[in-house]
Symmetry: C2
Subunit: 418 residues, 2 copies
């Protein structure tokens, strides 16, 4: 089936999903979870073919992301059940007011319509994204990376069975048949058939969407996150925060890539940072962090000289660019020039410095004395997450169910004219 035909079918199915009550949607979600578990053998068989095809072509890390087993499938099913347990965002009255002329105005959350998602090779995104879109009352069209396509198709078969079990149209969930550049382009330009496109992937995919899309897009996930260690920082706390933000999970978008250090404490802090991130880790047989140092940092500690791109790179690895700055304003100027607007942190005991930093830094999440790793829908109390928006329109930071909805005004009158 062509991508356009899949989109047309999703559009025909979207009203049934939009009008479905919470009970029907939740019944579908539980049935989707059950169908995934029941069809685990078929999903694993498809996954084995994907793995076979990908071996040699992608890194070991990618292969591990792609691989499924019984426990991971159960985890995906449980993820869908967790979405069922969340409050329904559709129909929530955001504002209600009776105007002086007697008109009763209600601003009400309503579904987006058709949500398209372009993603890469994690099979769990297939079920997570489909579940969140359904709970938010929208039809959903997925376009998976080619390495994971057979796994995704097997998962989608199970999920569509779950939709049917609740009396919802299977066409409310579609998977684009071929994972080509062309099919991604078709989604980006399907004006009138896609109400929201969410690209989840690397910087190249995001850029292609921004440049080519004629449908509404929310950019997600590119995170060049900064931690600024102020002259008034508690240096022990700063070490813990930088260590956590860099090393606890370097492959995720909320991991720190850059550490900015106030000139006055660079001499005291940076040797300790090197000891903690490089030497102590190596001694414990953990991958040491490669420090890429600007001139100021190189003058007080050891590491690799930073190259021209090191302050504009999302390493997603055990690499940290380090730069000495003149203070809060210098840190903020560097962040304004180099950040992707995801998450930044200041470590300081000085409230005035923290206030200035949180006011000046224009990112989705700005932390004072905490790790950037907390930027997450669950941590922020949204209950789930479709991705982290790094743009300004509509949603910023973690996107939960409410952020997957739009609203409309419903106005009741008694014959009023103007």
């Amino acid at each position: 089936m062509t991508t356009l035909e899949i989109l047309r079918r999703a559009n025909n199915a979207k009203t049934a999903v939009a009008l479905a009550g919470s009970d029907v949607k939740n019944k579908a979600l539980y049935a989707m979870a059950e169908a995934m578990e029941k069809r685990a053998p078929a999903i694993l068989e498809a996954n084995a073919l994907d793995l076979e095809g990908a071996r040699g072509a992608v890194s070991e890390v990618m292969l591990d992301r792609l691989a499924l087993d019984g426990s991971r499938i159960r985890g995906m099913a449980d993820g869908v059940r967790e979405v069922a347990a969340l409050p329904d965002p559709v129909g929530v009255v955001l504002r209600r007011e009776t105007r002086p002329n007697g008109l009763m105005i209600e601003k009400t959350a309503v579904p987006m319509g058709v949500i398209a998602i372009i993603y890469e090779s994690r099979p769990n995104v297939t079920s997570d994204a489909a579940a969140l879109a359904l709970k938010a009352g929208s039809a959903c069209v997925l376009r998976c990376g080619k390495e994971a396509h057979r796994s995704a198709a097997a998962v989608v078969d199970a999920l569509r069975e779950g939709l049917s079990a609740a009396g919802l149209p299977q066409d409310a969930l579609g998977l684009v048949e071929d994972a080509t550049r062309q099919s991604a382009r078709e989604l980006m330009t399907a004006s009138g058939l896609v109400d929201l496109l969410i690209p989840r992937g690397g910087a190249g995919l995001i850029r292609a969407c921004v440049e080519n899309a004629t449908v509404p897009v929310i950019e997600t996930g590119t995170g060049i996150c900064h931690i600024y260690v102020d002259k008034d920082a508690d240096l022990d706390m700063a070490l813990d925060i930088v260590d956590n933000a860099k090393c606890s999970r370097p492959s995720v978008c909320n991991a720190a890539e850059v550490c900015l250090v106030h000139r006055d404490i660079a001499g005291a802090f940076l040797p300790r940072l090197k000891e903690r991130l490089v030497d102590a880790r190596a001694a414990r047989d953990l991958p040491p962090v490669e420090l890429r140092l600007d001139q100021g940092a190189a003058s007080v500690t050891g590491g690799v000289p930073a190259g021209p791109d090191d302050f504009d790179t999302e390493f997603l690895d055990y690499i940290l660019a380090v730069k000495v700055v003149d203070g809060v304003d210098g840190a903020c100027a560097h962040i304004a020039a180099h950040s992707t607007g995801h998450s930044e942190a200041i470590v300081t005991e000085n409230a005035a410095a923290a206030r200035r930093f949180t006011a000046l830094v224009d990112s989705a999440a700005v932390y004072w004395n905490a790790s950037t790793r907390f930027t997450d829908g669950g941590v922020f109390g949204l209950g789930c997450e479709m991705g982290i928006s790094t743009q300004r329109l509509h949603a910023r930071g973690p996107m939960g169910l409410s952020e997957l909805c739009t609203y409309k005004y419903v106005i009741r009158g008694t014959g009023q004219v103007r």
Copy 2:
């Protein structure tokens, strides 16, 4: 100065505006209003040149929109003062929560950054848009239609003087120097320099933005608005509503262009509609409405046969397309296929029919027993309006000051790591 240079300067100025307190912004707004009144002679002189250039090239209606006089300039100044009196949207805490791990999370409204507006020939848009952007804490770059360019430049000179008077950088308000297609294209593609582009104008401009823009856009203002007269309508109320929605101001986007009528009451209603909109208006020397009738409507009343485009045209004139439908679902199906998603209304005494209509119709504003003409920021209690969004992302319907802002999360910790 090139468009890019104007944008760069606005970006350099945006932080000063974003950090300005309400008192500073309001001082600037009052000074802007005063400067416009003080400089009225220069503005009128520029306007006379614009009018001279436009005469013959544009319609009388357009000339009237373009023309300024002392009273209109005072009206523009008062409009700016009204914006000063509105509550400041910046810094409003939208959500505040302390999480179980002790992190204090605040979701706070913050300025968009640089807002660009492409508009046509109404000089009052220059001051309205600049005032709203400033109050919302953003720098603003305007690109005015060529017919009104000299007037806009004179108004902007006055407004920039007002900015200076409050100690704000004049570069926070820019006017693109030439009103060419090229300069519009430059704004649409200035990625990283424009945080929000609002096109205010005809369908052609909006389409050009959707197709070419790489910066975030909010589509505004195209309104093919429908009124559905149900079989259970109070026909007197229906006549009043259709008359008001069509005739009170046909040139605006919330005017009705299409009337859908339930088959069961078409014979009773449509002759009365013709009497009211055509014969009675002609008798009172008012412009009669041209009814463009589908076959069903033509079989019960007189008018012009509807052509193939009449149900997809924003007439902005004394023209009404009329179609007979089979009921609520037929009306909703027609609306889904032909509406621009602006405003639609049902007239009925039947609550079940009204509930189905308001649930099924997916437009920014859906009315039960009231005129579509009420879709307006002032009427909806927003205090002002930058335009009516007909898209689903970020803002839908009237856009007030809050809709011109984004938000960020500020998180305070005590050293938390994950």
